[in-house]
């Protein structure tokens, strides 16, 4: 499948470059916050030396900018790149710019109120902690902007299907549409939570909110959110990685099956974040747990398919024997620097996936829920494979859309390896501490990790200290990346006779079955909706029927309600 090159309009190129560069700045602010959090937790600092404020303000900024803002921008930019490229159709740039501007305005709004300390509610913004109304408005604009980007692609896809009857939709397009179908379904519930509950409540139009209902609506969104992070990385794993290793995708059908399974099982799983919550029957929690195992299946298929694709590539490159192919992959080939971002992420994801199964395992969640184990786990997913794939993707997109040569290739290639060492140490510390009961989202440096405090917990200390070491290594890796990234952005353009065209390393399939039953999203969306209704109706019923009081808004600084 050689898709060749495609000529994007200048306006589309400019937009896509901006959608990468601006969030990179925001990501770096968030990453700085992350480093500070490890120092706070170890008691090395008591207030942020640059941004001011306490641990929790920094933690809010870290979570929102890195996990929500950066990821959403990148997913939109990747879709804006891959959909026109794969379908050979131009974007409607007016709609695309509208989406970009909405996202930008929203992110800046939320960013400013967070920096002012008016929205220290963490990225889950559980009521009755109340943020400034502009925090909720900002997040809404970000989400609506991403919807607009998606709505821009739908007519392109439908037109392509009409004009190419009987042809398989390119896998990149299937992957990006899966990402945004999951996102659209999931964000509807958080839109309801924000627009009908939190925003009018923070403006004082309504007095009270039902906290359990808000939590349930949040997690309806919160778990599929992780697939919204993961799926663009999967798109790059399936489409780019085998090609970068001079191989083929082992099975095209496996890729399509995986994406359709994500459409079906991504959403009816959210209650597994609420195993320890009141007001939801444990039998419904168990059903969400079973669906969570179902959604682990596509990731296990992916593990097989990608390993088989890499084995094929390694053998093509002269690898012999049972494991000889592993040594033949281009880990240190500067011209294939992108490969290192994808392969390191995949290795980290083995541990992210296993720890995720632990979290989902019903009673076993008792041992880890809200302990430091949980951030340990998700730094091996969203801050592991997702972050690295998105960083590599950002560099590649900038290189293509701005027509700039990638600078500092040796350093660029080494970033994922350095980061992998850092995040392994960091997450091991958090997870090990979590198993001892060390809570997440807690400024341990001011109490549990302070030898002067009556609450001092000496047995947590080694694990808190080790996260500082891991955190510093992770931070250094990102600093190197950001330097190389901006060196590329400000590099002299590659001089060519004609306008530079955009190209992507798209992999051809080794086994290419017709897979007719996987060609249409519609039946899978219908199954997904049925499962969502069946799995969430009893949960919402339990919540509404067993909660008794609404909640007034609170500031994080006082036990007295704000009105």
């Amino acid at each position: 499948m050689n898709l060749g090159t495609f000529q994007f309009s200048n306006s589309a190129k400019k937009l896509n470059s901006l959608l990468i560069i601006i969030p990179m700045v925001l990501l770096f602010i968030g990453v700085y916050g992350g480093l500070m959090q490890t120092l706070f937790r170890a008691g090395i600092i008591q207030s942020d030396p640059f941004m001011g404020g306490d641990y929790y303000k920094g933690l809010t900024i870290h979570g929102v900018l890195n996990a929500i803002v950066f990821t959403t921008f990148f997913a939109v930019a990747l879709g804006n790149a891959l959909i026109p490229y794969s379908l050979k159709m131009n974007l409607n740039t007016k709609v695309a710019w509208t989406s970009g501007i909405l996202m930008l305005v929203g992110s800046i709004m939320a960013g400013v109120v967070m920096l002012m300390g008016e929205a220290t509610v963490l990225y889950t913004f559980y009521p009755p902690l109340k943020a400034h109304p502009l925090f909720y408005v900002g997040l809404t604009l970000l989400v609506v902007g991403s919807w607009v980007a998606f709505f821009n692609w739908i007519p392109m896809y439908l037109k392509w299907r009409r004009e190419n009857p009987g042809e398989k939709t390119p896998l990149t397009v299937v992957g990006m549409f899966t990402t945004f179908i999951v996102w659209l379904i999931a964000t509807i519930s958080v839109a309801v939570e924000i627009l009908f509950m939190l925003l009018p409540w923070s403006l004082g139009l309504i007095d009270e909110v039902n906290v359990m209902l808000a939590r349930t609506l949040f997690w309806f969104f919160g778990h599929p959110l992780v697939y919204f992070w993961l799926l663009p990385a999967y798109v790059m794993y399936y489409s780019f990685m085998p090609k970068l290793a001079d191989g083929k995708l082992y099975s095209d059908m496996a890729g399509r099956l995986v994406f359709m399974m994500f459409v079906v099982f991504s959403v009816p799983v959210g209650t597994h974040h609420q195993y320890m919550d009141p007001a939801i029957g444990s039998q419904w929690k168990l059903i969400h747990g079973i669906f969570t195992f179902a959604v682990a299946l596509p990731s296990l298929i992916t593990a097989f398919t990608l390993a088989a694709s890499l084995e094929y590539a390694g053998r093509q490159r002269g690898g012999k024997g049972l494991f000889g192919w592993i040594t033949k992959l281009p880990y240190f080939d500067k011209e294939k620097w992108f490969f290192s971002y994808l392969i390191s992420g995949l290795i980290i994801f083995i541990f992210g996936g296993i720890s995720g199964i632990v979290n989902a395992s019903y009673q076993m969640n008792t041992a880890v829920h809200n302990t430091a184990w949980v951030p340990g786990h998700f730094h091996l997913t969203v801050a592991g494979p997702v972050l690295l794939a998105f960083l590599g993707g950002s560099m590649y997109l900038i290189h293509q859309f701005m027509g700039k040569p990638v600078k500092m290739k040796g350093w660029t290639l080494s970033v994922p390896y350095i980061y992998t060492i850092g995040v392994s140490i960091f997450s091991w510390g958090l997870m090990r501490g979590g198993l001892l009961g060390m809570p997440r989202r807690t400024n341990t440096g001011a109490s549990y990790a302070n030898p002067e405090s009556v609450l001092y917990q000496p047995d947590w200390m080694p694990y808190i200290d080790i996260t500082v070491i891991g955190g510093i290594i992770m931070f250094l890796a990102i600093v190197i990346f950001v330097v190389a990234f901006f060196a590329t952005v400000f590099a002299r353009s590659e001089v060519t006779a004609e306008e530079p065209k955009v190209t992507f390393p798209i992999t051809a399939p080794l086994h290419n079955e017709p897979s007719l039953w996987l060609r249409n999203f519609k039946p899978f969306i219908i199954i997904a909706i049925i499962l969502i209704v069946l799995s969430y109706t009893p949960v919402i019923y339990d919540v509404l029927q067993s909660t008794y009081d609404g909640s007034l808004p609170y500031s994080p600084n006082s036990p007295v309600p704000l009105r």
Binding site: Y56, M212, I301, Q363, G437, L455, D549, G550
Partner: protein, 157 residues
Amino acid sequence: MDKSEKMALSLSGMLLILFFGAIMYAAVVEDIQVPTCITDMEPFTSDTLFQSGPETYELQMVARMWAFQPSTVRLPVGSTVDMYLTSQDITHGFMIENKNVNLMAVPGAVNYIQVTFDEPGEYFFACHEFCGAAHHTMAGRIIIEEEGAGTQMGALQ
């Protein structure tokens, strides 16, 4: 799909079924439960601890910014406690170290779990959901005493 793919798929499926079997075993045979929806408990706003049977106690605990009430609980070894937890203001979290107790304290709802203390000693607990500026100071302990000691609750010293 070729042979190796089919094998990978069936192995993955079997692995997940095995995990699910382990969950069911823990639930049915070992009787390890997660909190469920309870409707037979009246909402409460202050803390109470009383003996409900020869070796059973009922504890109604209130979480608030930034303390658990009670923050120290003394019970004799072998006690089985029916633990009810709610919040008076915002969301808090509660987990007893070395025990299968992990509860969210959510305003407007009562959470419940039963726990038995077979070993004497101090069981530390700390709030594990962000609850504002002094979240990291919200903690307490359950002290399980050898035979002969009484029950008591109070503030953390």
